[in-house]
């Protein structure tokens, strides 16, 4: 499709949209080559409410801006600061519902009906930021709205705190814990007035706004929300320093967070918003439906090499809080191609590298670590202590140790390995459930390996990184399902990846 095809496509859709709106009694008041210049006016509903419909340059793959000009100053839900109605959520927009004009106008009527009913049966949309202007910042070449990251709301709620300045990616976080109001009493020094040094931390207050019945939008409401902290906040603002107001609110039982970067200049209060994210809770919500069943289970991953690093990382992402990894090896540059850790961990213990990656994502809980399993007694202790042991070493000797320990303890373990240097992914339940036979090894073809690096180990395996990650994903999925008490294939799973092509 050429550029002219694109223009032609958009133009035809636009003409159809224009005709449909005119059929519906709307009038075209502005046209242009660019969709963003098109505008219509018309009326809907029994009360003939005036409606303005304006396209954006995203049309037809973006919704029109629909405005009700006779109620510009009324604040309500599902309407942006510019008065544009938020008629659909992101998911619904996938159907491009605005292209069917009768449905679009019906949607406006439904919006009006809901608005007049006070959005009583509304979905709990947590979109308070839609009613405020953003706090734009620039970081290097990028301009955006900063993101304030907190670990847990209860640690801050109702207190002053200090925050570091946004970093090069626009995110910032608490610098230290709860504190009392900033010391700005008395006459401020001339040098302080009007600006704060760029390296100085910011002063913030965490306030619970409670249930939102209408969007909180104006300065007076924001200041009122400060409650007992209002006086101290006014002092901070009076010397020209910003106050970060970090708010938690609820709407129909759902919890939302938002921040306001409040400043006062010449008596005028400004309150652009910034984003706020609560790390632990938000990560747990995304850890998968089994998180509540697996988070308190104990797991050991033996081997923190290629497969083991990804297995451990995925278990940690899935919410396994009591995770331990076992390995004595160090991370070398060549490992990075097939390892979950980035190059900054080169030279570190592979266990430290995996733990570091996990800690960057979520400092709590930390992954535990242990040495390689080399003695039968160690294997037996491990199988007895842990709810699940996952062998990712690919090492036959370790496997023998664990098999023996399994026979002696009656405990089961998982073995996750790439077969034939990438030919098969293999996850063995050892021993299989219900007396099933072990998975077969059919189809693996011999490969001649000649590339070696220093030391007396095996030649370098050409196993592709993709084979490693896919195998690790099967292993992690099997582990999660076993930990959650869900059924898994009794002997495990074997999948062809990169078979040797003659």
């Amino acid at each position: 499709m050429t550029d002219s095809d694109v223009d032609s496509h958009v133009e035809v859709v636009l003409r159809c949209f224009d005709e449909d709106l005119n059929r519906a009694g709307f009038r075209t008041v502005s046209t242009s080559d660019a969709p963003g210049e098109w505008k219509w006016v018309g009326k809907v509903g029994l009360n003939d409410e005036r409606v303005e419909i304006k396209l954006t340059d995203q049309f037809p793959y973006g919704p029109p801006d629909v405005v009700l000009p006779d109620r510009p100053s009324e604040m309500s839900w599902h309407r942006s600061a510019g008065g544009v109605l938020c008629l659909w959520d992101r998911h619904s927009m996938g159907d491009l519902p605005w292209l069917e004009v009768p449905a679009l106008l019906d949607r406006v009527l439904v919006w009006i009906e809901h608005d007049e009913n006070g959005w009583m049966d509304d979905e709990p949309a947590l979109d308070l930021e839609a009613y405020h202007q953003p706090y734009w910042m620039s970081w290097g070449q990028r301009i955006g709205v900063p993101l304030f990251v907190i670990d847990e709301w209860p640690a801050l709620a109702g207190y002053w705190f200090r925050a570091a300045r946004p970093n090069q990616y626009g995110s910032f976080s608490v610098a230290g814990g709860r504190r009392s109001a900033p010391p700005v009493g008395g006459k401020p020094k001339t040098r302080q007035r009007g600006r704060q040094r760029s390296h100085q931390p910011l002063n913030g207050i965490a306030v619970d706004l409670g249930e939102m019945t209408v969007p909180l939008v104006n300065s007076a409401d924001l200041l009122a929300a400060l409650g007992q902290h209002r006086a101290s906040a006014e002092k901070v603002l009076a010397v020209g320093w910003p106050v970060l107001l970090v708010c938690r609110y609820t709407r129909l039982g759902a919890v939302g967070l938002i921040g306001f970067w409040i400043t006062r200049s010449g008596g005028e209060l400004k309150q652009p918003y910034f984003e706020v994210a609560e790390r632990f809770a938000s990560q747990r919500r995304r850890a998968g439906p089994q998180v509540s069943k697996v988070e308190d289970r104990t797991v050991s991953v033996i081997g923190a090499g290629s497969v083991g690093s990804y297995v451990a990382d995925m278990l940690h992402r899935s919410g396994v809080r009591h995770l331990r990894i076992h390995d004595d090896d160090h991370l070398k540059p060549g490992n990075l191609v097939r390892h979950a850790a980035p190059s900054c961990y080169t030279g570190a213990l592979k266990t430290d590298a995996v733990r570091g990656v996990a800690a960057d994502r979520a400092p709590i809980p930390q992954i535990g670590q242990g040495g390689a399993i080399k003695k039968l007694v160690d294997a037996i202790v491990l199988l007895r202590e842990r709810d699940l042991v996952v062998d990712c070493t690919g090492d036959r000797l370790t496997w023998q140790l664990l098999l023996a320990a399994s026979r002696l303890t009656g405990r089961r373990f998982l073995r996750v390995a790439v077969e034939g240097h990438g030919q098969y992914a293999r996850v063995d339940v050892c021993p299989p459930f219900d007396g099933f036979d072990n998975l077969p090894s059919d189809g693996v073809r011999g490969m001649t390996l000649s590339e070696r690096e220093g030391g007396c180990g095996d030649p370098i395996s050409p196993t592709p990184p993709i084979a490693v990650i896919e195998t690790a994903a099967i292993g992690a999925r099997t582990a999660i399902r076993m930990l959650a008490g869900e059924p898994v294939p009794p002997a495990g799973e074997r999948r062809e990846l990169f078979p040797v092509v003659p």
Binding site: M1, D5, E11, V12, T31, R90, H91, H114
Partner: protein, 333 residues
């Protein structure tokens, strides 16, 4: 139904007076200043007003004349029309020399640098209206200012669609019969004025919408009015003076030719407007609007979509094709 909103907007842009509007403004302001400085004219209560198609904002490219109406409420009784024209010509000749010419009903001042002239029409009061010199050396009743006022009202009554449609109608006349043909643009404008009286008001439930619809319906309403004037069955009247038949310099053949062409044009517009194919529709409207004075096609025809573009459009326009497998449960954003 083919609205072709963007194409009609571009067509109107193509016939806008453009730089002529600036020239017209400068020329008439200059001439009015010259007249205002004459003591005798001032003593007769001179008040100059812009009239004509330029004043009514229905002129189209190119604007070749601007009309200035000179109200002289204190003109002494017995002052003859030819004397008055002579007086106006003399005042202007002092400033413009041989660029001034005295006509039967007006005085013309050429502005060669603008390829334009200004017509000065002197008038004495006559009750609530005015009288201007006629071709027979007498006086003739007129009220051009009222026509401007009526046009503005028409435009408001039809949600600002009257003026654009008059421009399009004037351009249609030029495209079908030639710029210098008779009857001229004023005749078409008056026919459009009367035709709009038969269209539903913008405030009504049956109001028309687009420029395409107004243009199409106006042409259809104008056709019998023009035919009636041509065959003498019902002459058009001066909108400002309903008892006064519209005086138009044209032969019977010229009237008949315009009536024939207008009936064909009305049918062409109807077919275009009702067409489901935008490209065919645009070709129809294009044939009615011809070229502007710069030689550019007035009505742009959208390109026929390629197979790929048509396929992409069909995918969007086909009900159900856009639905996601995950289901349809819209919530407000």
């Amino acid at each position: 139904m083919a609205l072709l909103s963007k194409e009609f907007k571009n067509a109107l842009s193509a016939i806008e007076p453009g730089v002529d509007a600036e020239h017209a403004r400068d020329a008439h302001a200059e001439v009015r200043d010259v007249l205002d400085m004459d003591d005798e004219l001032r003593g007769w209560g001179l008040k100059t007003l812009l009239i004509g198609s330029y004043a009514r904002e229905v002129s189209i490219r190119r604007v070749k004349d601007v009309d200035v109406f000179c109200e002289l409420p204190e003109l002494p009784d017995g002052y003859g029309p030819q004397d008055l024209l002579g007086k106006m010509a003399a005042v202007l000749a002092d400033e413009y020399g041989d660029r001034v010419a005295e006509n039967d009903r007006s005085v013309k001042v050429e502005f060669p640098e603008f390829d334009m002239h200004v017509d000065i029409v002197p008038a004495r009061s006559c009750g609530n209206a005015w009288e201007i010199p006629n071709r027979d050396g007498g006086w003739e009743k007129t009220d051009p200012v009222e026509f401007g006022s009526l046009s503005s009202t028409r435009n408001a009554d039809f949600d600002q669609n009257y003026v654009p449609v008059v421009k399009l109608a004037r351009q249609t006349r030029r495209a079908l019969l030639g710029e210098e043909s008779k009857p001229g643009g004023l005749f078409v404008e008056v026919a459009a004025y009367h035709a709009f009286a038969n269209l539903p008001l913008a405030t009504g439930d049956d109001a028309l919408g687009s420029t395409a619809e107004y243009y199409t319906r106006a042409l259809a309403q104008m056709a019998p009015l023009i035919r009636g004037h041509a065959d003498g069955s019902e002459r058009l009247t001066n909108p400002a003076l309903p008892d006064q038949e519209l005086e138009v310099r044209a032969t019977q053949d010229e009237f008949d030719a315009l009536a024939d062409k207008w009936e064909e044009a009305a049918m062409t517009a109807e077919e275009a407007f009702e067409s489901e194919d935008d490209h065919d529709a645009a070709e129809g409207f294009k044939s009615l609007l011809g070229e502007n004075s710069d030689g550019d096609e007035v009505f742009p025809v959208p390109a026929v979509p390629s197979e790929a573009a048509a396929a992409a459009t069909d995918a969007l326009r086909t009900p159900g094709r856009k639905s996601l497998p995950s289901g349809d449960s819209p919530t407000f954003g």
